[in-house]
């Protein structure tokens, strides 16, 4: 019936792949308004505009190299102002498995490499969180990451695919723990007394997936025998019709 909310329609047809997928992804109606336009949403809107036109048609020259990109925000954010000009935040990113049909092809951490708080300038970077102890549980990001690419004056995207792949293939509850480290720029006459923690918008994870089940391409050519029939023996048809 026209006007019936689509969720009800969708509930009637959960067997259709798209509908089932939408039912799994679409939050309930109660989530009325979209979240405030924070940095992550702004970042994803820019990624969307680079990858699709205003009508939603994927651009031929898009460079994301994936059919799905998920932005994951940090769960916890434990700040530890250190002595001196360093400030470290521990960020936990939940790695929630997808349905089997999606394969992880790339993972990057996007963070603000320059922060300006009041009169202070800070330069920041990201490192894996390492358990204190004789053997480093995780090798430093240097092994698995290419040189950070400067996306814009505000954001840096650093590839951590190998780092995440290792975790991704593990069983159970997986959390990627990173450290967001900021150092007060030289020249700031007084020390920044940092009490609170930075908002959660200073760093987030981008997970790139590919759809592994592609629809099988149907045979497009007319089978030979029927082509002959269509061209060679149409008199047969003509006779029949007469």
């Amino acid at each position: 019936k026209v006007g019936q909310p689509s969720n009800a329609l969708m509930a009637d047809a959960p067997s259709l792949p798209l509908i089932r997928e939408l039912l799994e992804e679409a939050p309930g109606k109660q989530q009325r308004k979209l979240p405030v336009l924070g940095h992550p949403l702004r970042y994803m809107l820019e990624l969307y505009q680079r990858s699709a036109d205003a009508r939603g048609h994927p651009r031929e020259n898009r460079t994301i190299g994936a059919t799905m990109v998920k932005l994951v925000r940090p769960l916890a954010n434990v700040a530890k102002p250190l002595r001196g000009s360093w400030h470290i935040q521990t960020l936990d990113f939940p790695l929630i498995p997808n349905r089997v049909a999606y394969q992880l092809v790339r993972a990057t951490v996007v963070y603000r490499h320059q922060l300006h708080l009041a009169r202070f300038h800070l330069s920041c970077h990201v490192k894996p969180w390492v358990q204190k102890g004789p053997t480093n549980q995780f090798p430093s990001l240097g092994t698995g990451s290419s040189k950070p690419s400067l996306l814009s004056k505000a954001w840096t995207e650093m590839d951590i695919t190998q780092h995440v792949q290792r975790l991704w293939n593990q069983k159970g509850h997986r959390v990627l723990r990173l450290r967001f480290m900021c150092q007060q720029q030289k020249g700031s006459e007084i020390e920044l007394q940092w009490h609170g923690t930075l908002s959660l918008d200073t760093a987030f994870l981008l997970l790139y997936f590919n759809d592994t089940h592609k629809s099988v391409q149907k045979a497009k050519l007319l089978p030979r025998v029927l082509e002959d029939f269509m061209e060679g023996d149409s008199s047969l048809l003509l006779r029949r019709a007469r």
Binding site: L34, M44, S215, L226
Partner: protein, 125 residues
């Protein structure tokens, strides 16, 4: 060959096909995700053009309709053997995907490409 068939065969082929304007073709159609009741989790795009196929399938399925051989045979069966077998239907032939920016229930923001979401051409089958 097809031309030979239609010209040699009396009226019914022509009357039946009706005017060219209502033959099987692609019809543009645009909806908003608000109309579909999905605007609370789809951020972009705002408008979506699924389009649709509508119209009569002609007796002679010319090559432009990309019809499979089975449709040609079904037409003949309907015409010459048993009218209870329906003529082929006017349905989409080629589709293109759509990119969507959405918010998941857990607040994750996602860019996703869905296959076969926009009808690009029609066929009779």
């Amino acid at each position: 060959q097809a031309g030979g068939i239609t010209s040699g065969v009396p009226g019914p082929f022509r009357e039946h096909d009706g005017p060219k304007s209502n033959q099987c073709s692609l019809h543009p159609f645009q909806v908003s995700f608000r109309q579909l009741g999905w605007d609370h989790w789809i951020i972009a795009p705002h408008l979506y053009t699924p389009n649709y196929c509508k119209g009569v399938c002609p007796r002679v399925l010319h090559y432009g309709l990309n019809s499979p051989n089975h449709a040609v045979i079904q037409n003949l069966v309907n015409e010459l053997v048993d009218q209870s077998v329906p003529q082929p239907s006017c349905v989409p032939y080629k589709y293109i995907p759509i990119s969507i920016l959405l918010i998941e229930a857990n607040g994750s923001i996602m860019y996703k490409e869905y296959e076969d979401m926009i009808a690009q051409s029609c066929t009779c089958r």
